[in-house]
Symmetry: C2
Subunit: 213 residues, 2 copies
């Protein structure tokens, strides 16, 4: 045990920053934000993107309704105020993860430009990759994996996006997936082609520095 | 582009779970929860623990007042209800990180057994390592790095733990650091000796399996 220092509180030279984490993980961290109707294929595509990135050795984390509404946002409902707070907290968590070096994948309907802009403002435009899963509502309703469209049509769900609440088409999406006419594999490929150069890196001669490929 | 599948929504064999992330990172994820008075040395010790773990190749993330109150919890005050919600959200974020394979370090006064138990319940007792930084209030007040004790004594801060609000001694701490009489280095060493066996792993002959050392 070394000498006690009751009154002296050392200031650390340098706390660990995002770059230290990125270097450890040998990746650049970004947030992939999937937006689109319920049943559009967001989660299916995002899960497959995550699986491929993981197989390539990237550390990823996926936030969706399942892990967020059951945890950090389990005290939020679906009022306009709560929907905004839902997205705000998700974006803050995504930002924390990104600052920790993690490639973070978010899957949320986020039906308005205001909500998507809120997320983008929190995360920062340079790190926010907006991916619009553009599937016609008729296709989503026909799939109706969770039976939510049927419920909404019967009036059992109020303000259900695509049935009795609007979905504003994203005007600033970085990637648009026409998932009604493209295969899942095609969508995944398109996302990866766009994302890979943004999260990869090449170590340079100069110590502790790296550039995006 | 492969054949479109408008109506078929594939179910994935297996989503990425915590173990996949732990294997990628070659570590077991845990939550290190530092509790103690303001000025007790929580952040100093925790930052140093993080730095050492990072140098050893572990992926860590540190949550403290600075990054949490400025972000995810920027709409919370210091009422009893808000303090509880503060800890609840932090614990949920820590759980998410842990499920993503990250060794997560939390530094919060968390002055009551109820608050610490809340965090433990959310994170799960097997993954929650409670570290009590036990520094006498006189030492903390003498340090008063942030000038908060002086403010509290002048009545400018209400319900300041250690001055005009109680700190309940943890009864279930996994590690107790007598930081008033131990050096910072000694505290860091004690934490690492306890934590290292819990986050390390040895790969076995059997593919995709590993055990704690």
């Amino acid at each position: 045990m070394s000498k006690p220092d009751n009154n002296i509180f050392p200031i650390h030279d340098k706390l660990l920053d995002r770059r230290s984490k990125e270097q450890l993980l040998q990746q650049r961290s970004k947030v992939l934000w999937f937006t689109g109707l319920s049943g559009s294929g967001k989660s299916t595509i995002a899960n497959e993107v995550e699986r491929v990135l993981h197989q390539m050795g990237h550390l990823t984390m996926l936030l969706d309704g399942d892990n967020v509404r059951a945890g950090i946002n389990n005290n939020l409902g679906f009022s306009e105020e709560d929907r905004k707070e839902n997205i705000r907290r998700i974006a803050e968590v995504a930002k924390l993860l990104m600052q920790g070096g993690v490639v973070t994948i978010c899957c949320f309907v986020s039906p308005s430009e205001e909500l998507r802009q809120l997320a983008k403002d929190i995360i920062g435009k340079d790190d926010f990759i907006e991916i619009y899963v553009n599937t016609p509502v008729e296709v989503c309703e026909q799939r109706d994996v969770k039976g939510l469209y049927a419920k909404a049509r019967r009036g059992e769900i109020k303000d259900f996006t695509g049935v009795n609440a609007p979905f504003e088409e994203p005007v600033n999406a970085d990637i648009v997936l026409q998932s009604g006419i493209m295969s899942i594999d095609g969508c995944v490929k398109l996302v990866l082609e766009n994302v890979m150069p943004k999260i990869g890196y090449v170590k340079t001669e100069k110590k502790d520095d790296f550039f995006v490929i």
